[in-house]
Symmetry: C2
C-alpha cells in the first residue's frame, strides 16, 4: 500500500499528465503480468538485451531479471526505444574484482580466460534463481537441444508462474541454470541452422506464453496493490520534468509542515 505521502506525491504529479497519457498508462497496466517473467543470464551484446526489453514491454511481461556474471548488461536505447522505464527491471551487477567470497568463486577466478572473456568471480545465477523459486516461480530453461523438452505451446503453465531463462549468446545457459531448472524449453527447428538468435527466441517464447496465459484462464494479472505501486513508479519516472516536480513537491511540503 502507498503511504499518505506517496499518495500526495501521486496526486501532485498526476496533475502534470494529460488525460490521454493517464488513460494509456491505465490500459497498458491492465495488461501487465508477472506470471511469466524473463531472466537473461550474462548477455554480451547490448542489442540483444535491448531487443528483449522491447519485446517484454510489447507483450506485457513486466518483470525482467538481467544477471551479470562476466559481462555488464548494457542496453541500447536506439533498440529498446526507451521501454526499459516501463518495466520492473532488476539488474544484478557483476561482482567487483577482489576477493571472491566462496571457495567455488576463488577457484573460478583463478582460472585463466584464454579468449579474453572476463573472469567469472562468482556466479550470481544461483542466488537469483533461488529467490525466484522462493516466490513460487518454476525455472524454465531455454535450450535448443533435447527433443523431449517442452515447447512454448506445450509448457505446463498451470503448475505455477514461469521464469524463462535465456543464456548468454555464446555458451547458452550455465550449469547453474541447468541444475536449478524445473523444465527445459525449446523452439522447434527444422533447418540446417541449430539455433535462433536470442532476440528471436525471446520474441517467439513470450509471444506464445503471453497469448496462452490470457487464453487459459490463469491468474496472470498484477495484484491490486502491486498494480498501484507500478503505476506510482511509472508516474514518478515519466512525469514531464519529474525530478524538478518532486523537488518542488518536497520543498512545498517542508514549507507547509
Amino acid at each position: 500500500m502507498l503511504n499518505d505521502e506517496e499518495k500526495h506525491l501521486w496526486k501532485y504529479l498526476e496533475g502534470f499528465l494529460t488525460p490521454e497519457r493517464k488513460e494509456r498508462m491505465k490500459t497498458v497496466l491492465e495488461q501487465r503480468t508477472r506470471y511469466v517473467t524473463c531472466v537473461l543470464e550474462d548477455l554480451f551484446d547490448p542489442r540483444n538485451g535491448s531487443a528483449v526489453i522491447r519485446h517484454c514491454d510489447a507483450l506485457g511481461i513486466h518483470e525482467l531479471h538481467a544477471i551479470e556474471n562476466r559481462h555488464h548488461f548494457k542496453s541500447d536505447t536506439q533498440v529498446d526505444l526507451g521501454t526499459a522505464q516501463w518495466l520492473d527491471m532488476r539488474v544484478y551487477r557483476k561482482p567487483r574484482e577482489g576477493a571472491p567470497t566462496s571457495v567455488k568463486g576463488r577457484r573460478r577466478a583463478a582460472q585463466a580466460s584464454p579468449d579474453g572473456t572476463p573472469p567469472l568471480l562468482e556466479s550470481q545465477t544461483p542466488i537469483v534463481l533461488a529467490e525466484l523459486k522462493s516466490r513460487g516461480y518454476r525455472i524454465v530453461a531455454t535450450s535448443p537441444h533435447a527433443a523431449d523438452d517442452a515447447l512454448p505451446e506445450t509448457l505446463d503453465l498451470t503448475a505455477g508462474p514461469a521464469a524463462v531463462v535465456f543464456g548468454s549468446e555464446k555458451h547458452g545457459i550455465s550449469d547453474e541454470v541447468r541444475e536449478a531448472a524445473d523444465v527445459f524449453l525449446r523452439i522447434p527447428m527444422v533447418g540446417f541452422v541449430e539455433s535462433f538468435n536470442l532476440s528471436a527466441s525471446a520474441a517467439i517464447v513470450f509471444h506464445v506464453l503471453s497469448r496462452r496465459i490470457r487464453q487459459e484462464g490463469l491468474h496472470w494479472r498484477l495484484e491490486a496493490e502491486d498494480a498501484e505501486r507500478v503505476m506510482f513508479t511509472w508516474i514518478r519516472r515519466t512525469a514531464p520534468h519529474a525530478e524538478r516536480l518532486i523537488a518542488r513537491f518536497e520543498a512545498e511540503k517542508n514549507l507547509s509542515g
Copy 2:
C-alpha cells in the same frame, strides 16, 4: 524433372558427400515448404535481412523474396550463419539509375529525397506481388495497426498459400503492398511500444505459421519434382570444392563424349 546430364552430375557430386551430410540434407528437405513464403520489401539494415534468412532456414520456409526499391539488399553472414545457400532466395535488384520506363517511375525519380534516402526509380513491388498472385499466393501484408487484422494464429491458411510481406524498417509496407494485399496481419501488442523490430516480427509470424501448416493438415510439403530440384541445387552449391568438381565433371564428359 532433371535431365540425364543433371542426373549424372548429381551422382558424381554426391560421391563427395558423407552419408551423414546426405542424411541431414534429406531430413531438412522433408520439412521444407513453399506454402508460406517470405517477402521483404526494401530493407535497409543488413542485420534484419540476415536474421530473417536464418529464421526461414530454421523454420523450413524455403522461398524468400527480397525486393530492392531504394536500398540494396545485403546480408551479413555473421548473422545468417551461411543459411542463405539453403534457401530459394530471389533478390529483385534495384533498377539502375537512368531513364525509368513508366510515367509513374519518372515522376517519382524527379522527387527530391530530403533525408538522403536514395530516390525510388521504379517500385518492383507490384511485379513481384503479381507474380506471386499468379502462382496462387494470397498476399498477407504485415502491419502493426488495424485492430481487425488477422493474427498469426487466426489467419485463414485453408484459403491458399500465403506470401507474407514485411515492409521496410522505417516506413513499413508500401502503398503498393497495401493495394495488393488480400489480408492484413498483425501481432498483438499490449505495451507502450507500438511495434516489434522486423526480425522479431518475422520470427513470431513464421514460428506460428510453420507450426500451423503442419498441424492443420495442409498440403505444405514440396512436390516431388520440386524437392528433387532443390536437392540438386543444394548438392551443386554445397559439395566440398563444388566448382572444381563441376569443372572436372565437364572436362571428363567432354573427353568421353
